[in-house]
């Protein structure tokens, strides 16, 4: 919450509606996943995503949620992770079934959601906003035309849920991994995560209000 306070300009004034609408829950789940990444799994990596830094916005873009980039000393060590987070307090975790289709769109015909767009968007920011055309070229080099050609992009399907639903979450995650390998992704390029927080519904409402 302290971290969020640093990036969110205005929390919702209490009393915050409980349950929250699913969009806000999803956005907050992305923020939580981003925080975990920054603190633990992606220390020192660049993070980019449409919603995590503005979870209370009314807008929730349908792209893959988080985009992690590591620029190594040389181009061969550059790496990207794409993290899609499904936040759910539903015992069935039905929403997690969408993990497959969300990642499938990385190699689809909707150019709003393709891996190429994602890489090129970041390259564009590097080129024009950060004036780093060198890094822009390096990130474009991670592109591929189909999942089986990908070598330095890892998928991170992630479920954020209650501790009591972790078994279901595991099952959903395994299902997603299997589906992704069927699409052509190498198993070694899939790194799933399950995040559990008790009283998740209440926690998210409190966080939306800016408190513990």
């Amino acid at each position: 919450v302290n971290w969020l306070r640093g990036i969110v300009t205005a929390f919702r004034p209490p009393p915050v509606a409980n349950p929250l609408d699913s969009r806000t829950k999803g956005n907050l789940g992305e923020s939580i996943a981003a925080f975990i990444g920054i603190e633990r799994d992606h220390v020192g990596h660049r993070c980019d995503g449409p919603n995590f830094h503005n979870p209370l916005s009314n807008i929730s873009r349908s792209e893959i949620d988080l985009f992690w980039i590591r620029f190594d000393d040389g181009p061969n060590g550059d790496y990207v992770w794409l993290q899609e987070i499904k936040t759910s307090t539903d015992p069935n975790l039905a929403v997690a079934r969408d993990l497959r289709s969300d990642f499938e769109k990385l190699f689809g015909t909707d150019v709003q959601l393709t891996l190429a767009s994602r890489l090129q968007a970041y390259a564009t920011k590097l080129r024009f906003a950060e004036l780093r055309p060198d890094l822009a070229s390096r990130i474009l080099a991670l592109g591929a035309i189909e999942p089986s050609n990908v070598s330095r992009v890892t998928l991170e399907p992630t479920i954020l849920t209650e501790p009591g639903y972790s078994t279901t979450a595991e099952s959903r995650i395994v299902g997603a991994e299997t589906a992704l390998t069927t699409l052509g992704w190498s198993a070694s390029l899939i790194s799933s995560k399950i995040v559990v927080l008790d009283n998740l519904e209440d926690r998210l409402a409190r966080i939306a209000g800016g408190s513990y």
Binding site: D110, R118, A123, T124, G143, E146
Partner: protein, 997 residues
């Protein structure tokens, strides 16, 4: 991009094959789109590198894949296509290909644009400045409209600070929350601003201080020319096109901007008052377009159209003005023969479609003209010659002809639309041939097959035969094959088809065959209704056209009344016709927005010997250029098929591939032939003799003149024609000096013209024809009616080469020949023609028609039955009207004036009103009003034009208050101007009603 060049090309080819139903084993569209996106990314990476060829290559790959992805037949989800269009526009825009960016964005529907974010609409406007105005209504965000207005302002004002401001604002947009896709297109748009900045028309004119007036530049911008195309920019800034005093040759593909370069060249030479330039164009329709464009550009320039056949009626005063005369070669020839002092004020001559040099007697005239101009240049005249052509590749001989190292040769293969060739074999294989596509893998020669599918001929039994009767019998089956191919293309719903035939009868047969298998349109567009109304009210015999046009199919040939032809062209321009089946005249003339071209006949009749031969590769290239018009389409597909009709020598099964592919994809570069290489007819010989005659006073000290002419000719540079041109010119000299029927020149070393020679020169006739006319004139009763005089003239000159109607020639020489007009009919036909009677009515009353055992004339003429037999006979009649009455006779009448005014023996004939007679006959109307209206291309029939003239004069005369101060001539001019404004779009009847009321 982690793919090498050949791999990328194969992906591009797979995308093209997929949307054309070719090949079975294709990559998924998701892969193709990933390739395209990666290519755009790679191109962005190359921005700013000195060698831009890789960037261009990547953008070619991306734009072609993406434009394939949005074809109607693409399997890509419809919801995904609008943003693919946007991305395709981005790829085009980054290449400076704004016509294609415009074309692909203009197909976004209102719904598509409504589904876009404001930001996406805004980016579309940045990518295609020409679309900016239209797209602005979808953008409400003031921060975006502010950027857009500044950006567009650059193209209108040329102030780079406004563009730099808008670019800075675009960069600032990265601070706002954008989706990945929006971020991508923002980046591309920023890149595109650099490209557009470089190509901005006004800014280029200013930055490089191009010698173009601001009025002219503003006129271009007002006409929507905001940016130059890359080859135009290069030509204007990196070559000496505008700064040199040497001649110029512009060889660039169709739609790549040659005409604009020619306009710049002309304008750069018109830097003072009292000088003029000439734009020589082979077709009236093209010339009219040039006149219209030039007048729109700069009203301070006097633009004078001089169209039609050989006319020496006069020229406008050029004193105190800058003048451009837009002329046919015949009119230009007449100008420089009869008004030679004008040459000192001439600054530039442009010859459009310069490859026509190889075409028969017209080609010989062009060659003669340019040869004479080259000699004048060498004697100190200060004008530039510019030749432009879309189809030449190896032009070294032309460069040498025009002046070798001093020539500015602008050559480019860049074209805004991609052209692809498809070949349909008799075994049912439809093959995509690589041709000279810039994107070919390293192991793909020009004739390699890039894709194919099975499409069996519905009439597979047709075959080549030596017997003409058998050939004729299988024409309906052959037409069915072409019709099947065209329906196959129409099912893709990409755009309209232009089908090219060698004969008028075939255009009718094909149009009916195709339309019979299409359903009649339930809601007829306005332009089609207009055609039907015209047929119903004035041309009922065109019931075959009425039937086919109701299904969206029209035929177009020289036998159709000009009103109908223009109405068909308007309908095609408005995308309201699906198919136009035409003879090559349309293919070489007006630029209409066809998506496909289908070549029905690939063997064409030779002008010289009447033999059928495979189509000349340059003509094929010109025809192929009709598909995929820039700004309307991004692609143009050309289909040829192994039509077995024609000369058996080429069409038999063992030869057909070699014969046809030889024309379509020649193995070596094609050079321009001399007219003497392809045509040995008397008309070519006569034209060289006429040109020789014209050169005599132009070169008073040259001896022998034939050597001078030969050395400066194009034919001299052709191994196959060098000896021929010398012998032709020697023969011309002998003919001119021949005293037996009156010498045209005296062998005084150098030659001096006799009075007869001077008259012949002014007339534009060949020496022999001039002699025959001079000897015939005293025997003609000039006190009789004009119709009788004209009939006598035709009978007196039955076989002169200037009278190009071979059917009439044969009939006059051998009266038993089958032809609808005999020597005894001429006077009556001409009398009715001059009285303004409709050609059909004259035709029906012909003795030939009344005697004929062919049934059904009444039903055919009234439109209740289609009768190809009568249509074919009527073709011959309209040929007579078009060739003999409207062209040959006026020429001869004017020539008679030249002869009678100069030759002492004919002086007594000088008082006859030859020029007036010529005008009457030319337009087929004995009315000054009618003639004026016809000259202004009024869309009235000749008969209505007379009626209109009478009525408008009576109206004007009744209103003295308004018209009192004006002279009769001024009133006529005013009324005509008013009429012309209406006549462009409105029906003649409407104009009559409006003006009469």
């Amino acid at each position: 991009v982690n793919l090498d060049g050949d791999e990328l090309i194969r992906f591009e080819q797979a995308a093209v094959a997929s949307t054309r139903g070719l090949n079975a084993d294709l990559p998924q569209w998701s892969q193709l789109i990933a390739v395209a996106q990666m290519a755009i990314g790679a191109a962005q990476d190359e921005l700013g590198t000195p060698d831009q060829s890789r960037r261009t290559f990547y953008l070619d790959i991306a734009s072609r894949i993406l434009s394939s992805a949005v074809q109607q037949s693409s399997p890509v989800a419809k919801d995904d296509q609008p943003r693919l269009r946007l991305l395709a526009a981005a790829a085009f825009s980054l290449q400076g290909n704004h016509p294609s960016a415009f074309a692909i964005l203009s197909k976004l529907s209102e719904d598509d644009l409504g589904s876009f974010s404001q930001f996406e609409c805004f980016i579309c406007a940045i990518l295609s400045p020409r679309s900016g105005g239209q797209l602005r209504r979808f953008i409400e965000d003031p921060s975006l409209t502010d950027i857009l207005d500044s950006y567009l302002g650059y193209f209108y004002g040329g102030d780079s600070s406004t563009l730099e401001y808008s670019r800075a604002q675009l960069v600032a947009k990265f601070q706002e929350p954008l989706s990945s896709f929006e971020t991508v297109i923002l980046g591309v748009a920023i890149g595109a601003t650099f490209v557009a900045q470089n190509l901005g028309l006004i800014a280029t004119i200013r930055e490089y201080s191009l010698p173009i007036s601001s009025t002219f530049a503003d006129g271009l911008v007002a006409a929507g020319v905001l940016t130059l195309l890359p080859p135009q920019k290069e030509a204007l800034t990196q070559s000496e096109l505008l700064s040199s005093t040497g001649n110029a040759l512009v060889t660039m593909p169709t739609s790549s901007g040659k005409t604009l370069l020619a306009e710049f060249l002309i304008m750069s030479t018109l830097q003072e008052e009292g000088v003029w330039a000439c734009y020589v164009t082979p077709y009236v329709a093209l010339g009219s377009q040039v006149v219209e464009n030039l007048r729109e550009r700069d009203s301070s320039i006097q633009v004078y159209p001089a169209m039609g056949g050989y006319i020496s009626d006069g020229v406008p005063s050029i004193e105190g003005k800058r003048t451009i005369i837009v002329a046919t070669p015949e009119r230009f020839d007449s100008l420089i023969r009869n008004f030679s002092p004008l040459l000192t004020a001439l600054r530039c001559v442009i010859f459009d479609e310069a490859h026509n040099i190889q075409s028969g007697s017209r080609g010989a005239r062009l060659e003669g003209l340019i040869t004479r101009l080259r000699i004048r240049q060498k004697s100190g005249f200060q004008f530039r010659i510019g030749l432009i052509s879309a189809v030449l590749d190896d032009a070294s001989e032309i460069v040498d002809w025009l002046g070798g190292s001093t020539v500015v040769h602008i050559h480019s293969n860049w074209r805004p639309t991609t052209r692809r060739i498809f070949y349909w074999r008799s075994n049912g294989d439809l093959l995509w041939i690589a041709e000279n596509d810039s994107l070919r893998a390293s192991a793909q020669p020009a004739r390699s097959v890039l894709g194919g599918t099975r499409l069996p001929w519905p009439q597979a039994s047709v075959r080549a035969t030596e017997h003409f009767g058998a050939q004729r019998q299988q024409q309906p089956q052959i037409a069915e094959n072409t019709g099947y191919l065209i329906r196959y293309l129409l099912e893709r719903r990409e755009g309209s088809v232009l089908c090219i035939c060698a004969a008028k009868a075939t255009t009718r047969l094909l149009a009916l065959t195709i339309s019979n298998q299409l359903s009649v349109k339930t809601e007829l567009p306005m332009s089609i209704s207009r055609i039907l109304d015209l047929i119903d009210s004035r041309y009922p015999y065109l019931s075959d056209l009425a039937r086919s046009v109701s299904a969206g199919v029209a035929y177009h040939n020289a036998s159709l009344p000009s009103q109908i032809r223009q109405a068909i062209e308007r309908a095609a321009r408005a995308h309201e016709l699906d198919v136009v089946v035409a003879t090559t005249t349309l293919a070489e003339g007006v630029d209409l927005p066809f998506r496909y071209t289908v070549l029905h006949d690939w063997q064409m009749w030779g002008a010289g010997d009447g033999e059928q031969r495979p189509i000349n590769p340059l003509l094929f290239r010109n025809i192929a250029g009709r598909s995929g018009r820039a700004g309307a389409h991004t692609d143009g597909d050309v289909f040829v098929w192994e039509n077995p009709s024609g000369n058996y020598q080429y069409a038999r099964s063992t030869e057909i591939w070699r014969s046809l592919i030889g024309s379509v994809v020649p193995q070596s570069s094609v050079t321009l032939a001399s007219p003497l290489e392809s045509d040995g007819s008397t008309s070519v010989t006569a034209m060289y003799a006429s040109q020789f005659l014209a050169a005599i006073p132009e070169n008073p000290d040259a001896d022998p003149l034939e050597d001078l002419l030969s050395e400066n000719s194009y034919s001299f540079r052709r191994v196959m024609a060098r000896d021929r041109i010398m012998s032709e010119l020697r023969r011309a000299r002998s003919s001119i000096l021949d005293e037996r029927q009156g010498a045209l020149g005296l062998a005084a070393s150098p030659i001096r013209l006799t009075l007869l020679g001077s008259a012949a020169l002014a007339s534009g006739l060949s020496p022999e024809t001039a002699r025959r006319l001079a000897s015939s004139l005293p025997r003609i009763d000039l006190e009789s009616s004009l119709a009788a005089i004209c009939a006598s003239l035709i009978r007196a000159l039955p076989d002169v080469p200037e009278q190009g109607n071979s059917g009439l020639q044969k009939k006059l020489l051998k009266p038993r020949t089958q032809y609808p007009i005999g020597p005894d009919d001429l006077e009556e036909v001409l009398r009715q023609w001059l009285a303004g009677r409709e050609p059909l009515d004259i035709f029906i009353d012909l003795p030939y028609v009344n005697r004929s055992k062919r049934a059904g004339i009444t039903e055919w003429s009234q439109g209740s039955a289609i009768n190809e037999g009568w249509s074919a006979v009527f073709d011959k009649f309209t040929d007579f009207i078009n060739d003999t009455c409207s062209n040959f006779l006026p020429w001869i009448l004017r020539a008679s004036e030249s002869l009678s005014s100069q030759v002492p023996e004919l002086r007594q004939l000088e008082l006859f009103p030859w020029p007036y007679w010529a005008r009457y006959v030319e337009e087929g109307i004995e009315s000054e009003w009618g003639i004026e209206l016809a000259r202004r291309s009024a869309s009235l029939s000749r008969f209505d034009a007379i009626s209109f003239g009478e009525r408008i004069m009576s109206v004007l005369d009744e209103d003295p208050d308004v018209w009192f101060a004006a002279s009769r001539r001024s009133r006529q001019t005013r009324a005509l101007n008013a009429f012309s404004e209406f006549a462009g779009e409105s029906a003649g009847d409407e104009v009559l009603r409006i003006l009469a009321s």
